[in-house]
Symmetry: none
């Protein structure tokens, strides 16, 4: 699809805002039969939907619950089944680690092993983030021949391991046996060129075990999701857009950087993000604007908090509209229904507001209303071509 | 898809009419919020829609604006992304040039160059069609070794160049540098076997320059879109249909001929086309009937003219129904919203009227009404299998 789009791209001065409401879609609360979006008072989003083309986005495939990585890659125009990003890489992006081409990243867990080396707790009793920081300091002092080593704390028992050096491979097996009562597995190479990297990682694990011997319950590590940065075509080059990303959370800044967007410095709140949007309005053609609160509430299983998060966001919509973007897209990277208290596989409402988006019977921005929209249910990586068309930035295909 | 269909085709005596309303879909006029289809009084199409299955056709992919070539190939059952037709070939089809397998066709522009040979106007001030005809006469006298040469005027500054002979290749680079102040580029071969064709074309260009030296502003040529006829599976063979095409405009006759339909002699008006339909009714199973006025008005940005063109067409619908086709399909090859004054990417309404098309809530033939139809939004190359099924001309898949 990107190969079809690229030669059709033409220059224009139109401006695009892609607002991603993280974990937007929900499910009805059994007591009322209404979802979070249906319960919330969202007059500004409803007004926008009335002038927009609406539909539902399926991010990966029917029944597949997207993580934040594939969820956003789809919104950026990349088929998430074609462009897969390993978990180690996502974990590194999530802490905004400056991962470089050739680096191998893995997700690390501190865990507990008994005197025989058998795992008794795969998460080391969820140690505090403070303890995690202290223990990663110990691991950071490990030296391996020919490679630079980074050990970065994430949260509680989680950390990131990065190896930097020549000729490394991310094709390695995981050490987590996924059950208790067994020892961590050795890392095995999964391709011919990965033997040396496997040896290096096994040497790291052996040394980590020595240095953590007195640190129970966090007296051992498990490593998963080894991978390297994927080679993604760059978003600004594909779409001919000066693209700026505005996100308070590091994971989303990392994903935007991964596809080559400029990550704009912003603050911790959505109000800060809106200030950043205004400040850079004239310098970019495309803004990726991220709102986290909807997902947080959904993942917490807090229906009312998600309703409140939606209503807070709705109140900010006029501030974006005041900038008069030529194309204003509101959608999300995945569902986070409060009744699931986590990500969901449900398709996510989308509205495309532009002068040329077309007539639409949709009168409210909800899951059910958008199901009747003219955009239908469509794969997330079809969104960017639609957005580009609405921005009058694509010429026609064939004479 | 065609490979799936072909072995399922069975004989029947049913008759099919595919009416293509060129550039059918539109967009609301801001003053009224109603599209051209919603503004027009279309009682006959509405009556048809009430008894038909309705939906929206997406011709190439979301956000992609189809040209007339891919737009119609999709309606004929060919995935336009799989079966691409070069611009030179389309230009030749557009003037009904009898292009043959192996011929290489290119789009030509007369242009203006200064004394240094640098381009000062890529369209030679849009010379009159009369001048174009006079100058192509000059170019037609150029002789090249081992190939036959055709230079055919199109309109204003545009012409078609065709080379006929053995072992030619259409894999050639273009000569138009797309900017002013540069000289035309030499043609380069883009595959191993194209070197001789490139030499021939460069010789043609050099000779054209000599013969046009005194013809300013049209004192040079630019050549683009070199290509050869694609090898398309033939429509009558795939679908087991005696297929007749009725179109007043040469481009659409050319597209029908490209897929192997019989092109029926007709007049300049839609009334002539309907006469041709009646005349040949007993001799064909499938009729492709083309109506141009909707697209012309849309491309002119004339909302009222498009409404009028729709109403004129609507008045003719009973004449088609009087013939009692078993399957009557009404759709278009792409959108031409008046507010865009050109082709658009918006999906196009479709109705399939047959005894077996199924129940449908749609009560009007408009973009919004069809969005709620049981056919949903679907790729254009899925239309022909649906049509064949409704004509009871497909057996079941698997026992």
């Amino acid at each position: 699809m990107l190969d079809v789009i690229r030669p059709l791209v033409i220059a224009n001065t139109t401006k695009i805002v892609l607002l991603s409401l993280d974990g937007l879609a929900g499910l009805p609360r059994p007591e009322t039969g209404l979802s979070e979006m249906e319960t919330a008072r969202l007059p500004n989003l409803a007004a926008l939907a009335q002038e927009a083309a609406c539909g539902l986005i399926r991010h990966v495939a029917p029944g597949i619950t997207p993580g934040s990585g594939p969820g956003h890659l789809g919104l950026f125009g990349y088929d998430p089944l074609q462009y897969q990003v390993g978990r180690g890489v996502l974990e590194a992006l999530g802490i905004e680690f400056d991962l470089r081409g050739g680096d191998v990243a893995a997700r690390g867990n501190f865990c507990t092993v008994d005197a025989q080396g058998l795992i008794t707790d795969r998460r080391a009793g969820r140690i505090s983030t403070e303890t995690c920081i202290r223990l990663t300091d110990r691991l950071r002092e490990i030296r391996l021949p020919g490679v630079e080593l980074f050990v970065e704390p994430v949260k509680e028992h989680r950390f990131v391991l990065v190896l930097r050096g020549p000729s490394l491979s991310g094709h390695l097996s995981e050490t987590d046996p996924q059950v208790l009562g067994k020892p961590p597995l050795p890392v095995k190479p999964l391709e011919a060129g990965a033997a040396r990297t496997a040896e290096l990682v096994n040497a790291f694990i052996a040394e980590a075990r020595r240095r953590l011997a007195d640190a129970a319950p966090a007296n051992m590590v498990l490593l998963r999701g080894f991978d390297q940065l994927p080679e993604l075509p760059r978003f600004p080059a594909i779409f001919g857009l000066r693209a700026g990303a505005i996100a308070a959370y590091p994971m989303y800044r990392g994903l935007a950087r991964l596809v080559g967007m400029d990550v704009l410095k912003t603050g911790a709140t959505f109000a800060d993000e809106l200030g950043t949007l205004r400040q850079h309005w004239s310098s970019y053609d495309f803004f990726f604007l991220h709102y986290k609160d909807t997902d947080k509430a959904g993942e917490d299983g807090d229906f009312d908090a998600k309703v409140a998060a939606l209503e807070r966001l709705d109140a900010s919509v006029p501030e974006v509209r005041a900038l008069e973007p030529d194309v204003f897209v509101v959608t999300g990277d995945h569902a986070s229904p409060s009744v699931l208290a986590g990500h969901g596989w449900q398709p996510v409402p989308v509205l495309i507001h532009s002068r040329y988006a077309g007539a639409d019977p949709v009168r409210a921005f909800t899951e059910r209303a958008c199901a009747a929209g003219t955009l239908g249910v469509f794969p997330s990586h079809h969104l960017m071509p639609l957005v580009m068309a609405n921005a009058l930035r694509l010429t026609k295909f064939g004479a």
